[in-house]
């Protein structure tokens, strides 16, 4: 009953394809899908339910399955081939994400220029290089990855740095080439990316180690001074020989010196810089307190009377450095894990010389006018014009255009875009730093430099704190002046010492290091603590469309007409290479298996053949338009108006069904956006795609709500347009940019916080401050909610520590403070802050397995 089906389907918005494909009109189909997955068999490799079991025949010696995807099948057979099935016993019993195998060749790892740049020579002619791995998720992965020498002969050693997902491989160049073990890692489910340590990463690594050294020394000093302090305090109660007491005081002063003079130096440096910039900073009162306490302590040791605070000072230095060390470590983990290969264009190009021979040269050295050969699946190394061959080019990340575009001789192609289908030859017009992609990257760097720093809550608090403490010291001096000048100075000094903000200094770094660690577990890599604070505030959130609001690849959005025909379509498209055909074959399963005979592909139009004795055609309006009755033409026009491609299905010369194929909205996108709007954010869309498509997406996201969901929705935006728009908007308030492509990268770098979603281009990942290792935009809401929770923790930490300071001030003003009391109060307040920071759940941990593929 085509007409009935059609009526229902037309009212359905662009829907998650896996649901929409089989349940065309059911808005409540989500629950149906959930029920169905209950009964689905579990994938042999990853343990997730197989809703559409992978259909390809098993490789030689492989298992029948079931497998949820091709990647899982490859990894499973790889593990069995190499006797590595112990992996299944070691790993985390929860279902893992499906294997990320790509099947690529990794020839770029063999490039001599690349090797000399990013690998090191070892003794005995061995070489070593660092690779960043995708897909590492549990302890068993460590075991499996480090078995690489057993899988690939010639690899001598493989060591994984789990928190950074970084693998160090040593190999014998005479026995194995890097592309071989690169491909082996890929088949094990861990696609490798070359790791080129950027300057920033090196700097962070050095800073982290430096902080660790200083913290260790401060800790040793603090511990030993504490021992003397204990003796002195008990001596003060039970009596102690004068010689011993001055000996102990002198010794503790001596031991405290390395901590004060060396360990605490980064604190002084920050304080000095802040004073020079006339900006409030928490390190100013901290440095003041440390300096005064040390000075008065040394004076009192020499004088032989008065209080010494060395135990509190050293403990303070140790705790503050510890907090900073923890925060820096989390930040560096996030930064390194997000630092997937910085190389955007391939480093080598296949140049065809006059005699027709192919030479491999560095991409940057290709001369203008040279003929370059590009194989299917490879990335174009230069900008140029197509000379020979036909293909389709995937430029999604450069232009925002979701579908691969067909190119023929004479058409321009850009470096960094992917050659999808055929072997082609390109005449170079620009190479190296002159290419469009390279210039966009330069724009990214410039935009990042123009970004203003984020105002931190701690600095605002520090300003007030400094004023309050100085006022308190003056008050103490005035109150105690009648008791003598000596006494008044002593009280003012001890007030400055006991209010030295230890817990206050710990409040932010500890909360942030806990937040960053939790966020990383929840799939968000946040590259800086201050970004968490920025994310907690309401802002204008700008979304890219392709790959962000939509999934960025072709899917069957809906089916109109006789559902029986799906099986025939799957039979015809089973071996399709065109993205539309692949989408049909993938999204219309599971269907009863039919065989197609006499299959003819008509390039650019469709495919036809005999299925079950009937002549079936699947194709575009151009191929089957004349065979379509009126309702089918109207439906096709409607699908086109939505920015999707209509696919007609004709049986024996009459169109009986249609499929709408295109880049569909991500599941739950509308709900996420509504929640974001409800949380006080304003939303906007900037897309490189056509305005009509953007309008349709906005309309289907907004639903029937009276208020428009977006303050602005613009199509046809070039990367420069996006950058200019974001920079202009930033003048009016904080802007978060959510995107995935290189066309978003400059805008990501310019935004207050740039958020790169999973699967995005490498340039966008390194430009953005936050990177999702989970797919979809539903987690964006969790990210912002987590940031708000983190800011609440910081605020409460401030409250706790200011409370402690208030108590200390009151005790000092009334003359009841003593070094012992300070030594007890300070750790208690710091402990409160530590416990509070690490106890609170800010970011929800990883989602249930059923969401892993959403």
């Amino acid at each position: 009953m085509p007409s009935l089906e059609r009526g229902e389907a037309a009212s359905a918005p662009a829907f998650p394809p896996d649901v929409a494909a089989s349940q065309p009109a059911a808005l409540g189909a989500l629950s149906v899908a959930a029920e169905r997955s209950q009964g689905a068999p579990a994938c042999l490799h990853c343990g997730l339910p197989c809703e559409a079991p992978e259909a390809a025949p098993p490789p030689a010696g492989g298992s029948e399955g079931p497998f949820c995807c091709h990647g899982c099948r490859v990894v499973y057979s790889m593990l069995h081939q190499h006797d590595l099935t112990a992996y299944y016993r070691y790993r985390d019993p929860r279902p893992a994400p499906p294997a990320a195998t790509t099947g690529r060749g990794y020839a770029e790892l063999d490039d001599p220029g690349f090797l000399s740049e990013s690998s090191r020579a070892l003794e005995g002619g061995h070489r070593s290089m660092d690779l960043l791995l995708e897909g590492v998720h549990c302890a068993a992965c460590v075991w499996l990855v480090e078995k690489l020498p057993e899988v690939v002969p010639g690899v001598t050693r493989a060591r994984l740095d789990y928190p950074r997902r970084r693998l160090t491989v040593d190999w014998r160049p005479d026995a194995v080439s890097p592309s071989t073990f690169g491909a082996a890692l890929d088949r094990l489910g861990y696609p490798p990316h070359p790791h080129c340590a950027g300057k920033r990463e090196e700097l962070l690594a050095r800073e982290e180690r430096d902080l660790l050294l200083r913290m260790g020394v401060a800790g040793a000093c603090a511990g030993n001074v504490m021992l003397f302090g204990l003796a002195l305090y008990s001596g003060a109660f039970s009596g102690m020989a004068e010689s011993h007491s001055s000996y102990f005081r002198g010794a503790s002063a001596l031991i405290a010196l390395p901590a004060v003079l060396w360990s605490a130096r980064p604190l002084y440096r920050k304080a000095l810089a802040a004073v020079r910039a006339r900006a409030p900073h928490l390190d100013i009162p901290v440095s003041l307190g440390i300096g005064l306490a040390t000075l008065s302590g040394v004076v009192n040791v020499v004088r032989g009377r008065g209080d010494v605070y060395f135990d509190s000072v050293t403990a303070l230095i140790f705790l503050l450095l510890g907090g900073r060390y923890l925060q820096l470590r989390q930040q560096r983990n996030a930064e390194e894990r997000a630092g997937v290969a910085r190389a955007l264009t391939p480093k080598s190009a296949r140049v065809v010389d006059d005699s027709g021979h192919v030479r491999v040269v560095a991409a940057s050295s290709v001369a203008v006018g040279a003929l370059v050969e590009v194989l299917p699946g490879d990335t174009f190394p230069v900008d140029g014009h197509l000379r020979e061959g036909r293909s389709r080019v995937d430029a999604a990340w450069l232009t925002g255009e979701p579908e691969p575009v067909a190119v023929a001789p004479g058409d321009p192609v850009l470096a960094g875009t992917v050659n999808v289908s055929g072997r082609v030859r390109v005449q170079a017009t620009r190479s190296g730093s002159q290419t469009r992609a390279a210039q966009l990257l330069e724009e990214v760097e410039r935009a990042a430099l123009r970004r203003a720093p984020i105002a931190r809550l701690a600095d605002r608090v520090a300003g007030w704190f400094l004023v309050a403490v100085v006022a308190g010291a003056l008050l103490a001096f005035a109150v105690w002046l009648p008791a003598g000048l000596d006494r008044a100075v002593e009280t003012a000094v001890s007030l400055l010492i006991v209010t030295c903000p230890c817990a206050l200094g710990l409040a932010t770094p500890l909360a942030l290091s806990a937040a960053l660690a939790q966020a990383a577990r929840a799939g968000w890599l946040i590259k800086g603590g201050e970004l968490v604070e920025a994310l907690a505030r309401p802002a204008l959130i700008v979304f890219d469309k392709t790959g962000t609001l939509t999934s960025g690849r072709s899917r069957v959005v809906r089916w109109v007409g006789d559902p029986e025909l799906k099986a025939a379509v799957v039979a015809l498209e089973r071996d399709a290479t065109h993205p539309t055909g692949r989408a049909l074959a993938r999204d219309l399963t599971p269907q009863p298996h039919l065989e197609a005979r006499d299959v003819q592909t008509r390039p650019g139009l469709g495919v036809q053949g005999l299925v079950g004795g009937q002549r079936v055609g699947v194709g575009s309006v151009a191929m089957l338009g004349e065979q379509a009755p009126g309702w089918a033409r109207r439906e096709a026009a409607r699908i086109e108006a939505e920015g999707l491609s209509p696919v007609l299905v004709a049986v024996d010369g009459e169109v009986r069904a249609l499929a709408a194929v295109g880049d569909a909205l991500r599941p739950r996108a509308a709900r996420t956006l509504q929640r974001l709007a409800a949380a006080g954010h304003r939303l906007a869309v900037l897309s490189g795609d056509r305005q009509a498509v953007v309008d349709h997406v906005v309309a289907s996201l907004s639903g029937e709500g009276a208020e428009p969901l977006f303050v602005s929705a613009l199509g046809g935006q070039s990367p420069e347009d996006k950058l200019a728009w974001v920079e202009a908007a930033r003048g009016r308030g904080p802007v978060f940019m959510v995107g995935d492509g290189v066309n978003d990268a400059a805008a990501l770098a310019a935004a207050t916080v740039g958020i790169a979603v999973h699967g995005g281009a490498q340039a966008s990942i390194s430009a953005a401050g936050v990177f999702a290792s989970r797919e979809g935009i539903a987690p964006v809401f969790e990210l912002l909610a987590g940031a708000r929770a983190a800011l609440r923790v910081i605020r409460l930490n401030f409250t706790f520590s200011l409370l402690y300071n208030a108590v200390a001030v009151a005790l000092t003003l009334t003359g009841r403070i003593s070094p012992l009391l300070a030594a007890v109060l300070m750790p208690i307040s710091s402990l409160t802050v530590i416990l509070h920071s690490y106890q609170r759940r800010m970011f929800d941990p990883a989602p249930p397995a059923s969401e892993l593929r959403s």
Binding site: A42, D83, R89, Y90, R209, L213, G216
Partner: protein, 65 residues
């Protein structure tokens, strides 16, 4: 003369030796990755012949969930 005057410097010397050991270890990079060794140690008994492994725990015969 109290024994303290001798015992203290000795104790501090010992402490200094440990600090020196720490500084060496940290500079050597041994403290750069504190998580992986903890995961690695779980498996180092590892190299069991998988054909001898109990079939009932192999995933092929018992889909996990």
């Amino acid at each position: 003369m109290s024994v303290l005057f001798l015992a203290l410097p000795t104790a501090l010397l010992l402490a200094a030796a440990f600090v020196a050991a720490f500084l060496w270890a940290a500079r050597d990079g041994q403290l750069d990755d504190l998580e992986t060794p903890a995961l690695r140690v779980l498996h180092e008994e590892g190299d069991v012949d998988p054909t001898a492994a109990d079939r009932s725990v192999s995933p092929a015969s018992e889909p996990r969930r």
